[in-house]
């Protein structure tokens, strides 16, 4: 039933695709999360509402992923989703998203803004962007992290863009997202551990808990010998990933192959394809 030859990115996309429900937004801010939403819409959640990198081409059919999305999605997009309307959808928990985080902590705090001191950071990243907003747009906030290391899984994030356990009094009429599922190159995690801390849900094939603990900057509860193994992608999932949603292999940009050279190669191929078409 399952192809034994698949890449880590294919495993991740397949697993991530399981977290979407219908009649809501499936937003892909990174290549892997975008592909996971497209896979979900193709196989599992036909009424998922896709918004890719261009909100001017929203709610499209499933297309092959491209670097210049607007040029390909324009054909089937149903609408232009202006950002004010999108934020009202967010205010109403219509959002589902996998966020690519740089730091995650023990209780689900997340950071994409700065490493080190905010006043004069050791590394300036991109700013908090939409994470403080997504806290109010999702039932659960899901994260993916490309490289599992003590620098990415930390005791406490340097700058709280998203919180895990809510620090707010629950006096309000709305409730922020609970910390949801986390996926890395080593396994799948959630915040069902003691006092809402991170715990292992499954380990990717061939990964041991010892490796995970070694690369995590805080203690994880030992899941024991019967810990689940992350399901391999099915042959149907692999077919859809390889033939339908990512025939050009943009997912490789999030692998160790990623970098300017591959990007340029993909870009030139896309331009050439366009010139022919």
């Amino acid at each position: 039933m399952t192809d034994t030859a698949y890449t880590l990115e294919e495993l991740l996309i397949a697993r991530m695709s399981k977290e979407y429900r219908g009649g809501r937004l499936g937003v892909g801010a990174t290549i892997l999360s975008d592909l996971s939403a497209r896979l979900a819409k193709t196989l599992y959640v036909p009424d998922l509402f896709l918004t890719t990198s261009s909100r001017a081409a929203a709610d499209p059919e499933v297309h092959a992923k491209a670097l210049s999305e607007e040029w390909t999605l324009d054909a089937t997009a149903k609408m232009s989703l202006d950002w004010e309307q999108m934020f009202r959808m967010i205010a109403q928990h219509k959002l589902q998203i996998w966020i690519g985080a740089v730091q995650l902590d023990r209780t689900g705090g997340s950071n994409i803004s700065v490493i080190g001191d905010w006043q004069r950071p050791r590394a300036q990243l991109i700013g908090a962007r939409g994470i403080p907003d997504d806290l109010w747009g999702c039932e659960r906030l899901n994260y993916h992290i490309r490289t599992h290391s003590p620098k990415s899984f930390v005791e406490k994030v340097d700058f709280i863009c998203g919180f895990g356990r809510s620090p707010l009094e629950s006096s309000g009429s709305a409730h922020p997202a609970r910390p949801g599922v986390v996926i890395s190159d080593l396994g799948v995690f959630d915040y069902g551990g003691p006092e809402g801390t991170m715990q292992v849900v499954s380990l990717h094939p061939g990964v041991s808990f010892a490796t995970v603990q070694e690369r995590t900057g805080f203690d994880l509860p030992d899941p024991g010998p019967d810990v689940a193994v992350t399901a391999a992608p099915t042959s149907e999932e692999l077919r859809v990933i390889r033939e339908v949603i990512d025939p050009e292999g943009l997912r490789r940009l999030e692998s160790t192959e990623g970098g300017p050279k591959l990007m340029l190669e993909l870009w030139e191929r896309e331009l050439a394809g366009q010139a022919v078409a």
Binding site: W83, E84, I126, I131, P132, L135, C161, F163, G172
Partner: protein, 264 residues
């Protein structure tokens, strides 16, 4: 009644303490030609806002034109980080006011509605509230007592937005993602549009997904073909990847950057 001006007239509109804001997002529909014109001018110490900043703010930082930056994001989307923004921040040289997307839209919206604040849940419980330059204040809802953030208006003195086509009266169309640009033009005291084309008349049966900007929001238009620089301006041109990579490699070299903006 034409609202047409050129870049030097645009630069002359900017006063010493003005807040200048740019439209577009990341590497999409960025007013790069306009930013380069400002970078070549004698202006300095600018207060700049960009919802999702990209090359336009990066080149102004590189040319040491920006004193303070208001933003929710600065970067080159999937192509990586913004080199001068990164370098300046890591040297401790750039003052920033950090928003989330929702908070910055709320701040523009308060200005668009000429209200002294708007309430928001966005930002509650995050470190955005605790920075030294935070403009947000926690308060109790006057009806329910719920804790909310009060977001003050962000009202640029000048907004610069790049569009696909404009007419001389200031009507315009944006065919790609409009990001927060409608809020921005409604929030700003003065609005300059740079346009790929100035047309005699905006087609009345236009494409159903385009964003129409009314002349009532617009003070001046500048014809600027290719004004998006190496960012993407759908459907006119895609992003220019070799130029992006070249910029990322070299832009922290001020001599290279001066040369670059001389041609932008």
């Amino acid at each position: 009644m034409s609202k047409r001006i050129d870049f030097s007239e645009m630069v002359a509109l900017i006063g010493a303490d003005d807040l200048v804001a740019f439209g577009g997002g990341g590497l999409q529909r960025k007013p790069v030609a306009a930013a380069a014109a400002i970078a070549r001018s004698n202006l300095s110490g600018l207060d700049v806002a960009s919802f999702l900043g990209g090359p336009e703010v990066d080149l102004l930082i590189g040319m040491k034109k920006i004193r303070r930056l208001h933003f929710a994001f600065v970067g080159f989307d999937m192509f990586g980080l913004a080199p001068n923004f990164r370098a300046a921040r890591q040297r401790g040289e750039l003052e920033i006011v950090e928003y989330s997307e929702g908070l910055m839209m709320t701040a523009y919206e308060a200005a668009a509605k000429r209200l002294p604040f708007l309430p928001s849940r966005f930002g509650l419980g995050t470190d955005l509230v605790g920075t030294s330059t935070s403009v947000f204040r926690q308060f109790s809802c006057p009806l329910t007592g719920e804790q909310l953030l009060a977001v003050p208006p962000l009202a640029p003195d000048l907004a610069i937005v790049h569009v696909n086509e404009a007419d001389e009266a200031g009507n315009a169309l944006i065919h790609s993602d409009a990001f927060a640009d409608m809020l921005l033009v409604q929030a700003a005291s003065k609005v300059v549009l740079t346009a790929e084309r100035i047309v005699a008349e905006i087609p009345s049966e236009r494409r159903g997904r385009s964003t129409f900007v009314s002349r009532l929001w617009v003070d001046h238009v500048i014809e600027a073909p290719g004004g998006g620089g190496f960012s993407a301006v759908f459907p006119d041109y895609r992003f220019d990847l070799p130029k992006i990579l070249d910029y990322q490699k070299n832009a922290t070299d001020e001599a290279w950057l001066s040369q670059h903006i001389a041609m932008a």
